[in-house]
Amino acid sequence: MIGMMVLSFLAGCGVFTALRPRAEALSLLPIAAGAGIGIGMLSCFYFVYISAAGSAGSNYLIVDAIFCAACAMIGSRIARWRTVPAIDAAQATSSSPLRKVLHIVLAINVCGALGALITQSLMYPYGNWDAMAIWNNHARVLFRSGEFWNENYSELPMWTHGNYPLLLPAFVSRCWEFSKVDSPGGPALVAATFTLGTAALLYSFLKRLVDASSAALAAAILLGFWTFTWLGAAQYGDIPVAYFELGALGMLCLAETSGSRSTLVLAGMFAGFAAWTKNDALPFICGMIVIHALVSWRLHSFGEALTRASILLLGALPGLAALIYFKVTVAPPNWIMAEQRGIPWDKLSDLSRHAAIAKAFAASLLRVAPAVTPPVLLLAYAILAGVRMPERCRAAAITALLTLPFMLAVFYAVYLITPTPLEWQLEHSLDRVLMQLLPSCLLVLFLFTRPLEAQPQP
C-alpha cells in the first residue's frame, strides 16, 4: 500500500518539477504538491483504464507502474532544461526568536495531527459516516465489481450519492488492486496524505509569498482547527477538496510572482482535481477562472486575460475530462437537481429559510469554542499587523480574495434550494463545507497581512 502511494507520489513530483515556478528550488513544496498531483493523475488514469478495458485486470499493475515511471522520468528530464536560481540567501539563513517559537508550535501541532490521524484510524478503521457510506463504499464497488463496475455503480442507491466524482474512490480502488484486498489502510493513508499535505502546501506557499513566520503560524492554526484534523482523520472528502482548492489559488499566486506560464497549468490542474473530487468544487473552478480572467483584464489586458484563462483550462483538462466522461456515462442524476421542478421560487422567496441559513453561517463563522481558533481573532491579527496589497501577485491575490465569498454565496444558494430538511442539512454539513475553504482563507488572510518580521515585500 505504501509502495503504491510512493509510485503515485513520484509521478506527481515528476509533473510538478516539470511545471514548477522557476524560482522554486528545493523545499517542501514539491513534496506537498507532488503527493496530491500524483493522486489526482493516477485516479484519472485508473478511471480511464477501467472505462476502456472494462476492468482493471492483471495487466493494470504493469501499465500503472510504467505510467508512473514515465511521468517521473519525463518530469525530471524537463526540469533539467530549466534554470533554478539559488534561494535568496537572506531568506534561507535569517532567523529570529519569533520564527523559532512559531516553528516549535507548528512542530508540536504536526506531531499532534499525526497522533490524531493514527489513533482515529485505529479506532475507526472504516472512517466515519461519509467515508463509510460514500467514498469507501464507492471504492469497494469499483474494486469488487470487476467487469460489472459500471453496471453496479449506476445502480447505487440514492443515499450513497453515486453522482459524486471518483477521485478518492478510484485512487483507493487502485491501491487495493495492488494489495489485492480492500483493507482499511488505503483510505486511511490517503486521508493522512491530504490532511498533512494541506498544512504543508499552506506553509510552502506562505513561506514563498510572505515569510517563514507567517507560514508557520498559518499552518499551526490550520492543524489546530479540531474540525479540520478530525474531518481528515475521519476520511471525509472535504479535506481533499480543501487541499486542491488551496493548491489552485496558491499556484496562481506563485505563477504570477515568478512569471511562469507553466505554473499556471499547475493551478488549473489543482482546480480540475478539486472538481474531480467533489461536486461542491465544480463552482470553484468556474468561479476561479472567470474571476481571474476578469481581474487580469482589468489589471492587464483582454489578451492576457484570455491567455491565462486558456492556460488554466488546459491544466484543468485531466480532471475535467474525467469528470465529464463520468457524469455522462456512469453517474446517476445529481440528487439536488433531480428533485427540482423548475426554479423553486417558493424556497427562494421564503424569508425564514434565508434567516435560518444566515444565522447558521454567522454561528459557524463566529464560533468560539474550546480548541477552536475564533475567526474574529484572525481578523484582529490582520488589523493590528496591518493590511497590504501583495503587489507581485496582485491579480492572483485579488482572484483568491474574491473566489472565497463567491464560494460562500454558492453554498448559501445550495442550502436555499436543497430538497432535504434545511435544519438537518445545515446541522450536518455546514461546518464541513466551510472547512473546504479554511486553508484558502488562511492563505488569503496572511497574503494580505503585513508580516511581523521585516521582510522584503513580495
Binding site: L98, V101, L102, V105, I108, N109, G112, G115, A116, T119, Q120, L122, M123, Y124, P125, Y126, M132, A133, N136, N137, R140, V141, F143, R144, S145, G146, F148, E151, N152, E155, L156, P157, W159, T160, K180, V181, D182, L217, A220, I221, L223, G224, F225, W226, T229, W230, P370, A371, V372, T373, P374, L377, L378, A380, Y381, L384, A385, G386, R450, L452
Partner: protein
C-alpha cells in the same frame, strides 16, 4: 507599525498559538483517554473478519446485485433493510452503525460486535 500595535499583534499571535496548541489536548482527550480497550475489540473483530473473508473470492462480489451477491460485503450504513432488499441475502454481513444504536437485521444473528459500531452478522438458517 507603532510599538503598541506591534505588541498587540504579538499578543494575538501568542493567543493564536495557545489556541492551536489546545487542539492537542482535544484529540488526546477524545481518543487516548477514551475507552482504550475499544481498539483491542476492533482489532479482534478485524482479525476474525479477515479469517472469514479470506475464504471467499474477492472479485465478482458486489453488494448491490442479488445474482452476484453471494459473498460477504460491508454494508457500512444504518439503512441495512434497504440494502438487503436491493441485494438479496448474503451469508455474512459486516455492519457499521452509529455508536449508541443497536443492530437488528431480520433473518440475521449477531456473531460478534465491537465497541465502536461494527458488528458481524450471519444469516440464520431456516
Amino acid at each position: 507599525m507603532t510599538t503598541f500595535r506591534r505588541r498587540a499583534a504579538l499578543c494575538v499571535v501568542a493567543l493564536l498559538c495557545l489556541l492551536s496548541l489546545a487542539f492537542n489536548a482535544q484529540w488526546v482527550r477524545a481518543y487516548v483517554l477514551r475507552k482504550p480497550a475499544a481498539i483491542d475489540n476492533i482489532a479482534a473483530l478485524e482479525a476474525r473478519l479477515s479469517s472469514l473473508t479470506a475464504s471467499f473470492p474477492q472479485r465478482g462480489a458486489c453488494g448491490y446485485r442479488s445474482d452476484r451477491d453471494t459473498h460477504p460485503f460491508i454494508v457500512q450504513h444504518a439503512l441495512v433493510p434497504m440494502q438487503l432488499s436491493e441485494s438479496g441475502s448474503p451469508e455474512w454481513l459486516v455492519v457499521n452503525y452509529h455508536d449508541g444504536c443497536s443492530v437488528t437485521v431480520e433473518g440475521y444473528e449477531i456473531v460478534a460486535a465491537g465497541a465502536e459500531g461494527v458488528a458481524l452478522l450471519r444469516r440464520q438458517t431456516p
